[in-house]
C-alpha cells in the first residue's frame, strides 16, 4: 500500500492540475478582493459628457413637464446611444419623454424623437405615422423627411422614399438630399448619375466628419455592389480617414473583406470589437474560414447572446441571427424561417442576401421567390444577389 506522504503528494498534484483550467463563473459568487473590477461604466464622473448629462437630468428632475429640457436630454441620450452602441440610452430617452409618450399627437419635437426610438425598435409603421404627423404640421421639417425616407427605403418602398428625399431640396444642404437619393438609387440600379454628384459632394471641405463617413460609405457600398472593388476600397478608405469610429462602417467593410476572402484583415479590423453582436459575428466568420480556435468560443458567446435577446422577447436582431444560424451553425432549416421573418420587416440588400442564401442551402426555391420578385421589380443592382439568384434558378431541387 501507498504511504501517506505519497498519497498527499499525488492528491495535491491532481488538485494542482485540475486547478490550472480556466475559471468559468457559472455560479453566483462572493468576490474576495475589494479591488476586483467587476464592471466598466460608459463614463467616468468627470467626463464632459457625463457632466452635461447630469446637468440636463437635474433640470428635467426639477421640472419633468418642461418640454424643452426633456427634448434636449432625450436628444442627447439618443446621440449617446448611437455612439456607444448602447440601447439603454434609447430606453432612457423614452422614459424622459414619458409625460408625452402615450399622447396621440404630442408636440412635433417629441414626435420626431418618438419616431426615432420606434424605428430603432423596428416599429416602422408606428414611426411613419409619427413622422407623417410632423410633416403635416411642419412641411419644412427636414429631419422628418429624412427619417421618413430612411424607413421607407428599409421597407423597400422606393418611390415613396425618393419623393421624401426630394422634399429635402430646399430644406437642407444639397449633399443631404443627394445622399438620401443615391442610397436608394444604389439599390435600384440607377446609381450612375447620383454617384457622380455625390462624388463631387465628398470633395466639399464643409462636410462634418459624420456626414463625410455617411457619403463615403454610400459610395463604397454602391461600388461594391456593382463589383467595382478598387473603387469601393478607395471610398472605404476615405471613410476611415475621417477618424471617427463608426460601427456601421466597420460592419460593411468587414463584409466587403469577407466577400473577397481577406479573412486575416477582418481579424485585424475586428479583433478588439467583440462587444457589438454584428461585429463579433463577422469576426467569428473570418475565424471559421481560417480554422482558428477562437471561433468556438466566439460562436458559443454569440449563441448565448441571441438566446438572451430571445428571452426578453425582442425581435430586433433577426438578420444577424439568421446569418449566424446559417453561416456559423450551418443549420439552414432553422435559418430559413428567421430570414423570412426578417424579410417581412426589413428589405435591404443584406436582408435579401441572407434569405437567398438560406433558401439555397435549404433547397427551397419558393421561399426565395419574394426576393426574386423584389429584385426584378426594382431592377436591383447587386452582383452577389444576381449570382445567388442564378444559382437558385439553375439548381434543380
Amino acid at each position: 500500500m501507498i504511504r501517506l506522504r505519497s498519497l498527499i503528494v499525488l492528491a495535491l498534484l491532481g488538485w494542482f492540475i485540475l486547478s490550472l483550467s480556466d475559471r468559468a463563473a457559472s455560479e453566483p459568487y462572493r468576490p474576495t478582493d475589494d479591488a476586483q473590477v467587476l464592471e466598466r461604466l460608459t463614463f467616468k464622473s468627470a467626463d464632459p459628457v457625463a457632466r452635461e448629462l447630469a446637468m440636463l437630468r437635474s433640470s428635467v428632475r426639477q421640472n419633468p413637464h418642461s418640454l424643452d429640457s426633456a427634448v434636449q436630454l432625450a436628444t442627447r441620450y439618443i446621440e449617446q446611444g448611437r455612439s456607444e452602441g448602447d440601447p439603454r440610452f434609447l430606453g432612457q430617452a423614452q422614459a424622459v419623454l414619458s409625460p408625452w409618450w402615450n399622447e396621440p399627437s404630442p408636440p412635433s419635437a417629441v414626435l420626431l424623437l418618438r419616431a426615432t426610438i420606434r424605428q430603432n425598435a423596428h416599429e416602422f409603421d408606428q414611426a411613419l405615422t409619427d413622422l407623417d404627423q410632423v410633416v403635416a404640421i411642419q412641411p419644412t421639417n427636414a429631419q422628418a423627411w429624412l427619417s421618413k425616407a430612411s424607413i421607407l427605403q428599409v421597407q423597400a418602398r422606393y418611390d415613396e422614399a425618393s419623393r421624401a428625399c426630394q422634399r429635402l431640396a430646399r430644406l437642407a444642404a444639397s449633399h443631404v438630399m443627394l445622399g438620401c437619393l443615391s442610397d436608394i438609387d444604389g439599390v435600384t440600379g440607377q446609381s450612375a448619375k447620383s454617384r457622380e454628384l455625390l462624388r463631387q459632394a465628398l470633395s466639399k471641405p464643409a462636410l462634418s466628419g459624420r456626414e463625410r463617413i455617411w457619403i463615403a460609405t454610400i459610395l463604397a457600398e454602391t461600388a461594391a455592389r456593382t463589383g467595382a472593388i478598387r473603387e469601393a476600397e478607395q471610398y472605404f478608405n476615405d471613410a476611415f480617414m475621417v477618424g471617427i469610429k463608426d460601427q456601421y462602417l466597420l460592419g460593411v467593410y468587414a463584409d466587403f473583406l469577407l466577400d473577397q476572402r481577406r479573412y486575416q484583415e477582418v481579424i485585424s479590423l475586428l479583433q478588439s470589437e467583440t462587444r457589438p453582436d454584428g461585429l463579433l459575428l463577422r469576426l467569428a466568420l473570418a475565424e471559421q474560414a481560417l480554422d482558428l480556435s477562437s471561433f468556438q468560443t466566439h460562436t458559443a458567446e454569440l449563441a448565448a447572446r441571441f438566446a438572451a435577446a430571445r428571452d426578453r422577447g425582442t425581435i430586433v436582431h433577426v438578420r444577424e441571427e439568421a446569418r449566424f444560424t446559417l453561416a456559423l451553425l450551418h443549420d439552414a432549416k432553422r435559418a430559413l424561417p428567421l430570414a423570412r421573418a426578417n424579410w417581412n420587416v426589413q428589405r435591404e440588400p443584406a436582408d435579401a442576401r441572407i434569405l437567398l442564401e438560406s433558401a439555397l442551402a435549404d433547397h427551397n426555391l419558393p421561399a426565395a421567390q419574394p426576393v426574386l420578385d423584389w429584385m426584378k421589380r426594382n431592377r436591383v443592382e447587386d452582383f452577389h444577389l444576381q449570382q445567388l439568384a442564378r444559382q437558385l434558378q439553375e439548381a434543380r431541387f
Binding site: 455560479e27 461604466l41 439603454r88 462634418s208 466597420l250 422577447g313
Partner: protein
Amino acid sequence: MRILFVIAWLLLSVPAWAHKPSDSYLSLSVQNDHVEGQWDIALRDLADAIGLDGDGNGQLTWGEVRNKHDEIVAYALSRLAVSADAHTCATQVQEQLIDHHTDGAYSILRFRSDCGRHIERLMVDYRLLFDTDAQHKGLLRLTQGGQTSTAIFSQESPSQTFSLAKRSRWIESMQFIREGLWHIWLGYDHVLFLLALLLPAVMVRVADRWQAATHLSSVCWNVVGIVTAFTLAHSLTLSLAAFDIVRLPSRLVESSIAASVVLAGIGNLYPTMLSRRWMVAFGFGLIHGFGFAAVLTDLGLPHDSLLLSLVSFNIGVEIGQLAIVAAFLPMAYLIRQSWSYPRLILTGGSLAVVAIALVWFTERAFNLQLFPL
C-alpha cells in the same frame, strides 16, 4: 440638430448593438407559505439608478458595490412587491453575490418573502427602472411544484398574477421522481461518494491485504447494508429540511459533502480507518440529505402535496442510486480477482476520487471556482 440628422438615418443601420438592452432576471420558487427568490440586476443599471462608482473612475470594484449593499437592497425592494391573495409578503434579502451574464456583471440578491399563509394566487408587482429606462424588462422564472413558467415584466405590464392551480398529482409526482433521478446522476458528488463506498465491496480484508470476496451473497449483503444506510440517512435529513425543521447554510452543506467524498476515498486507501462502511454511509448520508433538500427547494414545493413531492423525489433518488449500483456491481464482481482490481481500480480510482473531491472542497469552502464542472 445637424448631427441628429445623419444619426437618424444611421440608427437604422446599426449592425446590432454593442450591448443588450437592460434586463433583470427574477427567479421565484414558491414554497409552502413563502417564496425563495433570486434577483439578478445589472451593475450598470444600479450604477445609473443609485450611483455605485464611489471614486468616479468609471470602474466598479467589489469594494464599491459592497459599500452600497444596503442602498441596493433598499432600492430593489422598494420596486418589487410580492403578495399572496392580496396579502403582502414580507421580503428579506439574505445574501448579495455577483454573477456574470452575457452583457456584464450583475448583482445577485437572494431573498425570501414570507407570506404567512398558503400561497394560492401569487401577485408580483415589478417596477424596477421603468421610471428611468422605459425599455427595461424583468424576466421572471417562476417555479412551483417542479414546474417552471416564465413571464416578462415591462412598463406596459408591471403587475402580474399567477394562480398556482391544482395540478395532476400523478404528473407532479412523476416530475419529482424524474428530478430526483436526474439529480443523483448529474450531481457528480453523490455518484462519486457512492462509488467510493462501493469500490471495496467486492473485496475482503484478510491479514491487512485485499482479497477478492468469495461469495456473491456476502458481497450483496455488504452492498445492501451500505446503500440502505445511505438511503435512511439522507431520507431523514431531506425530510427534516423539507419540512423546515432544520436548516443549514448551503455553503456548509456543499463543503461538507465534498469533504465526505474526500474522506470516503481516503478510507479506501487506509481501510483500518473506516472499518464499518455502513456506518460511514449513514453518517455522511445525513449530510448528503441536506444537499438533496437544496435541490428540492429550488424546484418549488407545492404546499398541498409536500409529502407526496418529497416521497416522489426520494424515490427518484433511490432509483438513480440503484441504477448506479446495478451498473457497477456485476462488473466489479466479475473482475474482482484480476491483478488490476485492487491496484488500478480500487487504489487508482480512490485516488482520483480524492483528487476531484479536494477540488470541490476548495471551491466550495473558499468560494473559488477552480474547475468548470
